[in-house]
Structure formats: C-alpha cells, structure tokens
C-alpha cells in the first residue's frame, strides 16, 4: 500500500516548479505541486481542457483570473474550483517557504 507525506522532500529553493502525479485514471489526475517563488511566465495564461480543484497546503500564492483586477491570495487550506478554460495565472508564490499544492484535474464525463 502506497503511503507517504505531502510535505516530504520539499525544499524552499528549487530551480523549477515540481509537478508530481499521485493518482491518475482515465478521468482524473491528482498531483502535488511544489513552488518556491515561481510564477506563470509573463503574458501567459493557463487555459486547461479539464476542470481543476486545487488547494494550497503550505506557503502562499496569488492567482489572477482573467477579467479580475487583483490576484486572489491563497493561504493554507484555501481551495478553488477552476472550471475548464477559465483562464488564470499564478502571479506570485511564497519566496520564503515552499508552497505545496494539491491539484485534482478532471473531466465531468
């Protein structure tokens, strides 16, 4: 039986964001994301085929949705349900502590 800890192997400084699948089926992927100050590249947006339920578990981040003026600030425990094709970008992530996210990407079908 697979067992581990979501906060294991987390360094406060990574050269790149880490995306690690935990469970994947035909209809969803559950993944851990670790950010250490990274942001979505300037001018770029996430525009995803699948809906995403995402929770921030440590650190903090600012997520901007297209059409909104200010990023939403996420703190530990905060979650958002992002519909498919709802354009958004990560404006900032914590530069002191690692930001750990748990994201569930899924299709409704």
């Amino acid at each position: 039986m697979k067992a581990a800890n979501l906060f294991a192997d987390v360094s406060a400084t990574l050269s790149e964001e880490r995306f690690e699948p935990l469970v994947a089926t035909k209809s969803f992927t559950l993944e851990r994301i670790v950010s250490t100050g990274q942001t979505t590249a300037p001018g770029e947006w996430y525009d995803q085929e699948r809906a995403e339920w995402v929770v921030l578990l440590s650190g903090s981040a600012g997520v901007l949705f297209e059409g909104e003026h200010e990023p939403r600030v996420l703190r530990p425990g905060d979650y958002i349900l992002i519909p498919a094709h709802r354009r958004h970008r990560v404006e900032w992530t914590d530069t002191t502590d690692a930001t750990v996210w748990l994201a569930l990407h899924y299709t409704d079908a």
Copy 2:
C-alpha cells in the same frame, strides 16, 4: 467560482464525524472529513467498493488494516492509497484537536 478553506467551520468537539462532498462526478467523490475523537464502531470494518486516496491534514489518527498488528499512525501530510475492498478501521482520532481528512474515492474504470 467556488472558493473556501478546508480548515473553516472546524470545531474540536462534534457529536458526530462530518462527511462533506467537495466535488463529485460519475467516477469519483472528493470529500472533507472532520473527526473529533470518533472511531469506527467496535468490530466494524470499512470494506469499500472504490479505491480511496486519503490524506490527513490536521490532528492525528490511527488506522488499522486487516492482517496488521498495529494501527498506522497518521500525522499532517500523511497519505495512504487504500485499494478497493482492503478492509480497515479507524482505531482512534485526536481528542484534543480536530482531525481534518481529504478523501478521494474513485473507480479506475
């Protein structure tokens, strides 16, 4: 867009465990569970039709799997992937702080 916090509305004393669906599709249900000292009833086992990926996010708990001698102690961030029909029971949950779990019940099909 639905946004909230997994640690909101959590009391350290509840008369019953709380099970709250967050996202549900044909192939999975994601739910928050809040325990405040509750355990699986004596002599009973969970024997589930679907696989379950579950993480403990606050508090602590002891989960016993059939055929093992000691419960596995879960602390914040610890997760387990429980195959369908793998019999298990919650031997204890924290009696001081609320135990918040996030559980993903799913079929592989």
